[in-house]
């Protein structure tokens, strides 16, 4: 019995048909592997470049601090248009599609839709236009939701966790093109006039002092 030679013959026989290996036997497998993989492995750094900008999607969120979040104080009595807006607070959620999609989910689940529709407004003012009564900066929108506003906007203080609030803020701002357009939601599950958030041209947001018509 000579299994070794047998299998050896068989292998050389098959390998003759494949050109790159040449007629004189088998190339070292490691070399073959390197030869095939090298061009592809050069692509790897390029792919890694992309993943640098990969979005974070934390599974475990930090405990909420909605109750003790430090809100920009507009006025003790009348939250109104004549406030100085202070430095803008960056909201990292505005660069993150997942967070904004979550914001949208809560916007619907917490019935912002009931009063503001999907941005077009109803009993509450439109949120997809460039007119803002109480300010468009992230911390101002946050304050509006947490504190409520006198002409019918209820306060959600203690009712929505801090993480979710910032997600809602990011989504609300994306409705008028103020959030990162590369991350804003593209598709809408609802019939809605106008463009999806990722293709809304950014208008010039301004604080309007006259109350919205209703």
């Amino acid at each position: 019995m000579n299994w070794k030679t047998n299998s050896r013959t068989a292998r050389t026989a098959t390998c003759r048909s494949c050109r790159p290996f040449g007629p004189h036997g088998v190339r070292h497998p490691a070399k073959t592997l390197l030869g095939t993989c090298l061009p592809y492995s050069l692509l790897l750094p390029v792919l890694l470049l992309f993943s640098c900008e990969r979005e974070e999607r934390p599974l475990v969120v930090q405990p909420p601090l909605a109750q003790d979040a430090s809100l920009p104080q507009i006025s003790d009595l009348v939250p109104g248009p004549k406030h100085n807006k202070g430095p803008s607070v960056a909201n990292p959620d505005e660069n993150n599609s997942w967070m904004m999609a979550e914001g949208k989910r809560f916007y619907e689940a917490y019935n912002c839709v009931g009063c503001h529709a999907h941005g077009g407004g109803g009993m509450g003012p439109a949120l997809m236009d460039e007119k803002w009564i109480y300010g468009y900066e992230p911390q101002q929108v946050y304050a509006t939701i947490v504190e409520g506003r006198p002409n019918g906007m209820p306060s959600f203080r203690g009712k929505i966790s801090n993480d979710q609030l910032w997600e809602i803020v990011a989504y609300v701002r994306s409705l008028s093109g103020l959030a990162n357009q590369w991350a804003a939601n593209a598709r809408d599950d609802h019939i809605k006039g106008g463009s999806p958030p990722n293709s809304i041209p950014e208008g010039t947001p301004h604080n309007s002092s006259e109350p919205q018509p209703r």
Partner: protein, 326 residues
């Protein structure tokens, strides 16, 4: 009971799963016999040919067969192919009759239950022509033994699949496309269901408790579920209700009889009477409940319920209240 009993298609508790188990055993024995035959012939072939391996490496391993051997082999192989096709066809017929028995025309008087899949829990609604008689609960399905049940399946987000192996096969819950399935439980028992279509991070922890019980026990259970939440009977429970109503819980949960009427999370009207929480993931004990309320994402990462911060006294009161919701 071991998992092999309460979550097993081979331990049927309904007419449908009995059909499936029956078919499974037919397939099992037929394929086992064929497997054994193939193994036996394979061994015979190996043993016979071991002696015939040539010493000269330049000669072909398998010698040219004689003409007679060749034609005999052709006949045997053709016959085996025909037999294989016939066996497969017989199995197909068995499969067809099983499918027919499972999807037989439903009983028009069947008990209708609407099951809605959410990431990652089950909403269960016992239908009734009278809206006030509709019962909503979650993650726990009770059915009477001996009565046909019609499940109307829906999903609010992604595709899920309803599967209680002891009861019936899988049925998908497709968003925007209601599906239906039927079964009749044949013996009492407590079983475990499991989502059977990957639906996100916590798919593996999207389970449900399935209880088949005698009709009397079932109607007792159902009429208890119909009642609104019991009024708190102690100061601590009263405070617990205030804590619940004053915090985020009301944005997502319903407790019938209070102002909490949101549907983003499971109905908690009778949470105290449930065996498990978090979609069959944790036993419904005070400790797990407390851990869940304080930091659900730590127990079920990715879960759609945020962590909650509250004082120890508030938490205790809230637990007293939730446990009283029998």
């Amino acid at each position: 009971m071991s998992a092999a009993e309460f979550q097993s298609a081979l331990n049927p508790a309904a007419s449908e799963s009995a059909h499936i188990a029956h078919l499974w055993w037919i397939f099992f024995w037929v394929t086992l016999v064929i497997f054994a035959l193939v193994a036996v012939f394979l061994f015979i072939a190996i043993l016979r040919n071991l002696r015939r391996v040539p010493d000269d490496p330049e000669r072909a391993i398998i010698p040219e067969p004689a003409q007679a051997t060749e034609s005999r082999a052709t006949k045997v192989v053709s016959a085996l192919v025909v037999i294989t096709v016939l066996i497969l066809f017989a199995l197909l017929i068995g499969d067809f009759f099983t499918g027919n028995a499972i999807y037989a025309t439903p009983d028009p008087k069947a008990l209708a239950i609407k099951v809605t899949g959410h990431q990652w829990w089950w909403e269960v609604q016992y239908q009734d022509p009278q809206p006030s008689e509709i019962v909503t609960t979650a993650n726990e399905i009770h059915v009477p033994v001996g009565k046909a049940v019609k499940l109307e399946l829906q999903s609010t987000d992604v595709i899920h699949s309803f599967w209680v192996p002891n009861i019936n096969g899988k049925k998908d819950l497709v968003p925007g496309h209601p599906t239906t399935t039927w079964f009749t439980a044949r013996r009492a028992g407590e079983f475990r269901g499991q989502c059977a279509e990957y639906c996100g991070e916590q798919h593996a922890h999207m389970r449900m408790v399935f209880v088949a019980e005698p009709p009397d026990a079932f109607s007792n259970w159902l009429s208890a579920q119909k009642k609104p939440a019991p009024e708190p009977s102690s100061d601590s429970q009263r405070r617990g209700r205030e804590v619940f109503l004053a915090s985020q819980c009301v944005m997502c949960h319903t407790i019938q009889g209070t102002k909490a009427r949101a549907t983003l999370g499971p109905d908690l009207t009778h949470i105290g009477a449930r065996k498990m929480i978090a979609a069959g993931e944790l036993p419904n004990t005070r400790g797990y409940l407390a851990g869940w309320i304080l930091n659900a994402p730590a127990l079920k990462p990715g879960v759609r319920m945020p962590p909650n911060q509250m004082s120890a006294d508030d938490l205790n009161a809230l637990l007293d209240y939730l446990e009283s919701l029998k």
